[in-house]
Amino acid sequence: MTAAREASRPKVVIVGAGPAGMRAAETLVGAGLHPVIIDEGARAGGQIYRRPPEGFTRSPEQLYGSEAAKARALHALFDRMAADGLLTHHPRRSVVAVRDGQLHVLAENGVQAIGYDRLILATGASDRVAPVPGWQSAGVYSLGAAQIALKAQGVALGRRIVLMGTGPLLTLVGAQLLKAGAQVAAVLDTSPWHQQMKGLPGLAARPAVMLRGLVLRARLGTRYRAGVVLERIETDPDGPVAVRWRDSGGRENRTECDMVGMGWHLRAETHLADLTGCAFSYDRQWHQWLPQADRLGRAGNGIYLAGDGVRLLGADGAETAGRLAAAACLADLGRQAPAVDAGLRELARLERFARGVSRAFPWPAAMTRGLPDDTIVCRCENVTAGMVRASVALGGGEANRVKSLSRLGMGRCQGRYCQLAGADLVAAQAGCSPDAVGRFRGQAPVRPTPIGALLHEG
């Protein structure tokens, strides 16, 4: 290609090489563009299709189970596009800020600026976590962490494991750990059966997926308990020693363990969307703030959002959303864009299913509102529920005021793991709903960045 033609091609940058980012890249390449795709991972794949380091030997069937064919297809597609020079892949790099049409990208040797004409954010999600007394202890992990350890490293994070929370990942991780030979003592679901039944009409939009979930759940046997009330994680200076919980009949239980995995479905990763100035709205069903975009993922100002970072539709939905966002981008650039009708219909079906999931496996708002005062809510800086409540008494029920008074959300995770529970506590104390509390404003850098790297930015 001549330099002149190269220069005339608009520069589209994609952040995130999960299913959404990879399909967006494919669609852009198909239209003759050369996208740049940036991801923190060493190899493209994202969360569900995360690949172990080179030299590991388990097959995709062992790693991804029923989703192995999809994983193979996506990895092969991406590796082929990269090998053929159809895109530029920047692995092991974190986008830490977005400003004036430029991404600030942290690599091992410092921060680099990468300009874009259009930006597709496919940043995925992380576990939606609720505090449980004792969760700050070493040896308590997110459910996703337990899965990543198994998938990418072939290890269990403890000898005797208790999983707690709710959602598809709870059952899945339990079944995956058992199959791999880990000792799983209990899988404690805070959603009661009658609540799970309410999700059925939505879940029926994907009967095969629902059935697969039930089969996995059956493999857990009596380890799986629904409608559990979590009391606390008992710890010694070394880590967890047991979980105290009550069953659906109110009976007290104590399960010994040395590792806990926790998660209540997913929380969209929205920090970069926030920095680009996207509007947000509170979604009551998902119990979180989500960036706003049109059906194709257009968020305005040349920004497009795709995948779990904007709507929690799962991996298949992420593939479709990635294609649609790229199609919108191409149309806006005045280029030939692929048809979108079939993709939009598919998204509508997946949306019905996802609504069923959110109904069946809700955020444990009653639990977070009732946390004892000495429970740590921010595990970065050990801010307690009592400190959050006291800051409401002092400064009122607005998220950013609570943040500056209590330091909630100021720690190294930047509020990713405390904001939702914090908003519940504030809402309960101020007598309003969590959306009236507002949300923490996103701040750059979205990942800790050494001062030296920022000073030498070039």
């Binding site: 923190e40 060493a42 969360q47 172990p52 380091p53 080179e54 030299g55 590991f56 030997t57 388990r58 062992q62 092991r92 974190s94 992380s126 576990d127 700050q136 202890s137 070493a138 040896g139 308590v140 992990y141 997110s142 996703g144 962490a145 990543i148 350890a149 198994l150 990418a152 490293q153 072939g154 290890v155 269990a156 994070l157 403890g158 000898r159 791999a180 030979g181 880990a182 710890t235 200076p237 070394d238 880590g239 040395d258 590792m259 990763e269 740590i376 595990r379 970065c380 800086e381 050990n382 190294r412 995770c413 990713r416 793991y417 990942r447 800790p448 050494p450």
Partner: protein, 100 residues
């Protein structure tokens, strides 16, 4: 395979060994381990919390929580869950003495 640390290796055990040190004690891990896996194969934590009594051993393993930062004898701190272990790394769970 049970270790002295936190983790249990369930698969991918036939990888070449890598030597490193933690708080001056020689340890070994396997090629392809992250720094976090390597440390937790031998120890119960990667650092001590600045805000409370508990040791910390990572939380998310996906670069989102920053709970897993570990010190080196020299050079910058590492995010243990996303950095591969390398032969000869010298790690420590406490900040070096000259850290302000």
């Amino acid at each position: 395979m049970i270790s002295d640390g936190r983790i249990v290796r369930l698969a991918e055990r036939d990888r070449p060994p890598v030597r490193f040190s933690l708080d001056g004690v020689p340890c070994h891990a396997l090629e392809g381990d992250t720094v976090l896996t390597a440390v937790l194969a031998s120890a119960r934590a990667v650092r001590v919390s600045e805000f409370g009594p508990e040791p910390r051993a990572g939380f998310c393993l996906m670069g989102a929580c920053q709970d897993c930062w570990v010190w080196q004898e020299e050079g910058p701190r590492l995010r243990a869950c996303s950095m591969p272990i390398a032969e000869g790394m010298r790690l420590r769970t406490l900040p070096p003495e000259d850290w302000p």
